[in-house]
Amino acid sequence: MTFTGAIGALCMFPLRLIIDGCVALRIHPNVLTFVGVLINVVAAWYLATGRFVTAGFIMIVANIFDFIDGKVATQLGAVSKFGGFWDSVIDRFSDLALFIGLIYLYAERGRTDYVMVTAIASTFALMTSYTRARAESLITRCKVGFMERPERIVLFMIGAFTNRMAAVLWVILVLSIFTVADRIIHTWIELRREERAVRA
């Protein structure tokens, strides 16, 4: 087992209990998704005021909701197309909330350089999911590129808990640019292959 796999397996123990609790209480997964975004807004407020450690703890709570909604939906037999759509739309709001919190913080401190880094990182974070969604309307699968939402969220938490948000933002920025580029290249290759197959 890889070490990231081991960490994932370790985290699943408490999450399993929370999922079982939500299933027992029959909480609708769409409600869990919405509660997740509200808690992320609170985390964004703490980021905006420079209280990173508190923001980190709140992000953990918010992302528990984010993580378990799909699992609860499966166990309750409440999986729906709208649920998937709702989840991905709300995820974008959660992402943007955290970035806006940081933009506010750096703007208030007069750091236009980091306002720009954060703004561009948030643009490419959004484009990461947009390129995949758009690509998968044309090809069957477009799951390439490293920097997806779980990686971004874990990096935000690491940045918040260890006060290394600037380094984290640079990582998110650079790897999100590569992820978007990967998805464009992958879609281009796949579409070209399809066109050739049609011609042959």
Binding site: M1, T2, F3, T4, G5, G8, G50, F52, L105, Y106, R109, R111, D113, Y114, V144, G145, F146, P150, L155, I158, G159, T162, N163, R164, M165, A166, A167, V168, W170, V171, L175, F178, T179, D182, I185
Partner: protein, 68 residues
């Protein structure tokens, strides 16, 4: 032939690092995570002009201080 292979190896590693197609929980993923964490924790915040952590020592600096 081996020289050509040796020359292309770094290029291939770079290509696979940037054109990422690996799943989570693979050894390639672990390597990438280690590289990211090393960058985040080892880079002195002052080098990046970190608005919140400038003046704080990086991990390397901290370890060196402990050794001294």
């Amino acid at each position: 032939m081996s020289a050509a292979r040796a020359l292309t190896l770094p290029a291939r590693v770079l290509w696979h690092a940037f054109f990422w197609t690996y799943e989570r929980a693979t050894w390639q993923y672990d390597l990438m995570v280690i590289a990211i964490l090393a960058f985040v924790w080892l880079t002195p915040p002052a080098w990046l002009g970190d608005p919140m952590a400038s003046g704080q020592p990086g991990l390397i600096e901290l370890l060196l201080r402990l050794i001294r």
